[in-house]
C-alpha cells in the first residue's frame, strides 16, 4: 500500500528530490492546492522505536494560513509526528521535513523555535515553579536582544529589551484573558488555566507555525468552546498557521481546514473534516470493520 500524498502538485521542497510520481489521489479534493503556498512539508517520515514502527512513511503539506489537524486513535503516531517536527526525534533515512524552505532536520532542537515554530505539549510542560508572567517571558527567548554581559550588568539596553518583551507578553495576556493569573505560580493554577498558559507561552514566541498537541484535552465544555474561538482568532487575526492534534471531533470540524487521519503510524485519509469523517477507513480505524466480528463474539 502506498501512503497517500497530501499535496502532489505543490512544488517539491527545496534542496531535495521531487515528491514521487504523481498518482491521482481520490482523497484529495481541494482545488486550490496548486496555488496554495506550503509552509511545512513532511515527506516520507518514518520512525521506529525498537520493534514498533511508530510513524511509517508519512507525508503531508501544511499550507500557509490554514488549520491542519491530525486525528487518529490512540497510538496512531500523531504526537510522534509532532516530536519529529520539534526535532526531539530524528526520522529514519529518506525522510524530509522542510519548513518555509529550511530543512528542519539540519537544525538542532532549539533551532526549530528560532525558525518560528512554537508548540504545546499533550501533558502540559510548563515551568511549574515560575509565575505565568515568567513562563510567557521565557516564550520570548528566541527574540532576546541582549547578551550575557548585558544581562549581568542589567544595562539600559537590557532594561529596554525587558520592557519590549513585557509589552508583547501583555498583548498575549490580553488576548487570552490571563490578566487575573499574571503573577500566580503555575503550580497553583487549575488544569484548564495551565492549558491556556501553555497556548499563551507558544504565542509569546510570535510563531509562524503553532503546533497544538490536544488543545482541548482535560478541558470542560466552555473551556473547549473558548479554545475553538481562540484557535480561529489566532489563524484569522494573527495569520498564524496552526497544526494540531485533536480528538474532539466537534472542535476539529469547527476550526480545521483540512484533516489528516492516521492509524498505526500510517496516513489513512486526508481532506476536509466532513470528508475524513465519512471515509470508510477512518470509521474502520475507530470502530473496527463490519466484516470482522470476531472481536464481538463471546469467548467460550
Amino acid at each position: 500500500m502506498t501512503p497517500p500524498r497530501s499535496d502532489l502538485r505543490s512544488p517539491p521542497p527545496r534542496g531535495g528530490a521531487a515528491s514521487g510520481p504523481a498518482e491521482p489521489d481520490p482523497r484529495r479534493q481541494h482545488g486550490s492546492a496548486e496555488t496554495a503556498d506550503v509552509l511545512l512539508s513532511a515527506h516520507d517520515i518514518s520512525v521506529r522505536f525498537g520493534g514498533v514502527l511508530a510513524v511509517n512513511q508519512v507525508s503531508f503539506d501544511v499550507r500557509r494560513g490554514e488549520v491542519f489537524t491530525l486525528i487518529g486513535p490512540n497510538g496512531a503516531g500523531k504526537t510522534t509526528v509532532f516530536n519529529l517536527i520539534s526535532r526531539l526525534y530524528t526520522p529514519g533515512p529518506g525522510g524530509r521535513i522542510v519548513f518555509d524552505g529550511t530543512d528542519l532536520l539540519a537544525l538542532a532542537p532549539h533551532g526549530v523555535a528560532q525558525r518560528g515554530i512554537a508548540r504545546t505539549f499533550q501533558n502540559i510542560e510548563l515551568f511549574e515553579h515560575a509565575t505565568v508572567l515568567q513562563n510567557l517571558l521565557i516564550g520570548r527567548h528566541t527574540h532576546r536582544r541582549t547578551g550575557f554581559w548585558q544581562d549581568l550588568l542589567f544595562t539600559p539596553a537590557a532594561r529596554r529589551a525587558a520592557i519590549a518583551d513585557r509589552e508583547q507578553v501583555e498583548r498575549v495576556i490580553d488576548f487570552l484573558d490571563l490578566a487575573h493569573h499574571r503573577d500566580t505560580m503555575i503550580a497553583a493554577l487549575p488544569y484548564g488555566v495551565r492549558k491556556v498558559v501553555e497556548l499563551a507561552r507558544a504565542l509569546a514566541l510570535e510563531p509562524r507555525l503553532l503546533m497544538l498537541d490536544e488543545p482541548s484535552s482535560g478541558l470542560n465544555v466552555e473551556e473547549t468552546d473558548d479554545m475553538a474561538w481562540w484557535i480561529d482568532d489566532i489563524r484569522r487575526e494573527f495569520g498564524i498557521t496552526v497544526l494540531m492534534v485533536e480528538h474532539d471531533m466537534s472542535l476539529v470540524s469547527r476550526v480545521s481546514d483540512r484533516v489528516l487521519a492516521m492509524n498505526q503510524g500510517e496516513v489513512i485519509a486526508l481532506g476536509t473534516p466532513g470528508q475524513v469523517q465519512a471515509d470508510a477507513r477512518v470509521v474502520e480505524a475507530y470502530l473496527g470493520s463490519t466484516q470482522d466480528l470476531s472481536g464481538l463474539r463471546r469467548q467460550p
Binding site: 523555535a113 528560532q114 508548540r119 517571558l137 521565557i138 527567548h141 544581562d151 518583551d165 488544569y191
Partner: protein, 358 residues
C-alpha cells in the same frame, strides 16, 4: 498588609519594589557597614566567613537552585580559586588581578566539569561531580611544586601597590563589596533572559528546548558562573585562613556547601546567605551545647556530623523550602494577621508530566 498598585512595567523590573525594601535593606547595609565598629573582633571574623560562604552559596544556588544541576564536588572549585589566589599573590601579583584570575580559572574548570552535565542527569551528575571533587583534591595533594602538597602553603595578605589589607576590618570590607557585587550580578541575571533560561531548564528541559533555549550552552554557562563565584569565594577564603592544605577542600566541605543551599532554601537568593549564616553559627551553637549536655553526648565524637544530618533530615521533611521558606511563612503570617491559614503555602500535587521524552 501592603498592596502594590502597578502602573509601569518598570516597577516589576526594579530591585527595590517598595518603601519596605528600601528601609529594611538600607538598614541591613547600614549595620553591615557599621559592624567593624559594633562587633567584637571574633564576631567580625565570623561575619566575614558568612560573606565568603554566601558568595560561594550564591554560585551553588544558581547551579542547584535555579538550573537544577547538583554538584557534590563544589569544594573543588573553591580549592581551585583558593590555590590560584595563593600562588599568584605569593608571586607578588596585586590581589584584584589574582582574584580575577581565580574566578576565570575556576570558571574554565567549571566548563570542563559542565561537559558531562550535558549528558548525565540527576544522581549521575552528582556522582560525576563527586568524582571530580576527589580528583581535584588529589591533584592539590600531589602537585606539591605549586600547591605545597600535604604540607600546605601560606598565603600572604592581600596587597595593592603599597596598600596592604592586613587588618580584619579592611578585609571584611573587601568581602562585603565582593558579596554585594556578586548578589547584584545574580539578581540581575535572574530578572533577564539568561536567568529565565536557567529556570526553564530546571523545570522542564523538553519544554525549554522547544522554546529555543540552547540546553548545552546554558548548562555550561551555569556551571561556569557557579564555579567562578566559588573561585572568588575560595580566593577570599585563602586570605581569611592564610594557610591552605588539600584536606580543606574534601568531600566534607562539598557536602557542607550543598547543605548550606538546601537548608538556606533552594531557589532563593536569600537562601544562600541564610544557609551561610547557618553553616557558620552551627559549630558555635554546638560548642555552647557541649558545655551544657552530659559528657556522654557532649564529648561524643562525630557530634557535629550527627547534628547536621538531623537538621538536614528535619528540613527535608518539614520545610523543603529551607530557612527562606520559613521566613516567608513567618512574614506572611505577620502581614495577614490574623487571617493566616495553614494551607497557604501548600501546593497541589503536580500533574503527571509526560515521561515519554525523558
Amino acid at each position: 498588609m501592603r498592596f502594590l498598585f502597578k502602573t509601569d512595567y518598570d516597577q516589576d523590573l526594579r530591585l527595590v519594589k517598595h518603601g519596605g525594601h528600601v528601609f529594611w535593606y538600607g538598614l541591613l547595609m547600614l549595620l553591615l557597614v557599621a559592624s567593624p565598629w559594633l562587633l567584637p573582633e571574633y564576631w567580625l571574623t565570623q561575619l566575614t566567613f558568612v560573606l565568603i560562604y554566601g558568595v560561594v552559596g550564591l554560585g551553588l544556588m544558581l547551579l542547584a537552585g535555579f538550573t537544577g544541576l547538583f554538584s557534590i564536588g563544589h569544594a573543588a572549585f573553591l580549592g581551585v580559586g583558593a590555590y590560584t589566589q595563593a600562588v599568584l599573590v605569593n608571586a607578588g601579583l596585586p590581589f584584584p588581578l589574582a582574584l580575577a584570575a581565580a574566578a576565570l580559572l575556576s570558571a574554565a574548570v567549571g566548563v570542563v566539569v559542565g561537559l558531562p552535565a550535558l549528558r548525565v542527569k540527576g544522581i549521575y551528575l552528582g556522582i560525576a561531580t563527586l568524582a571530580f571533587g576527589f580528583i581535584v583534591e588529589e591533584v592539590f595533594a600531589r602537585w606539591d611544586r605549586v600547591t605545597g602538597g600535604n604540607a600546605g602553603v601560606h598565603v600572604k595578605a592581600p596587597a595593592l601597590g603599597g596598600w596592604k589589607l592586613d587588618s580584619s576590618a579592611e578585609f571584611y570590607f573587601l568581602c562585603l563589596v565582593v558579596a554585594v557585587l556578586a548578589t547584584l550580578a545574580i539578581v540581575n541575571l535572574l530578572r533577564s533572559p539568561t536567568g529565565r533560561a536557567f529556570v526553564a531548564i530546571r523545570d522542564s528541559e523538553v519544554s525549554a528546548q522547544s522554546m529555543g533555549i540552547h540546553l548545552a550552552r546554558y548548562k555550561t554557562l551555569s556551571f561556569a558562573i557557579s564555579a567562578a563565584l566559588a573561585g572568588v569565594g575560595g580566593a577570599l577564603y585563602a586570605h581569611m585562613i592564610k594557610f591552605l592544605s588539600p584536606d580543606q577542600f574534601n568531600i566534607i566541605q562539598s557536602i557542607d556547601l550543598l547543605l548550606m543551599v538546601v537548608i538556606g532554601g533552594l531557589g532563593s537568593v536569600h537562601g544562600a546567605f541564610l544557609g551561610a549564616i547557618f553553616l557558620i553559627t552551627m559549630p558555635e551553637l554546638i560548642g555552647i551545647a557541649k558545655g551544657v549536655l552530659p559528657d556522654v553526648i557532649g564529648q561524643a565524637p562525630g557530634l557535629k556530623g550527627a547534628v547536621y544530618g538531623l537538621v538536614l533530615i528535619g528540613f527535608v521533611l518539614f520545610e523543603p523550602l529551607g530557612l527562606y521558606g520559613r521566613w516567608l511563612k513567618l512574614r506572611t503570617y505577620l502581614q495577614v494577621f490574623p487571617l493566616y491559614r495553614r494551607g497557604m503555602f501548600k501546593r497541589q500535587k503536580s500533574f503527571q508530566k509526560s515521561d515519554r521524552l525523558k
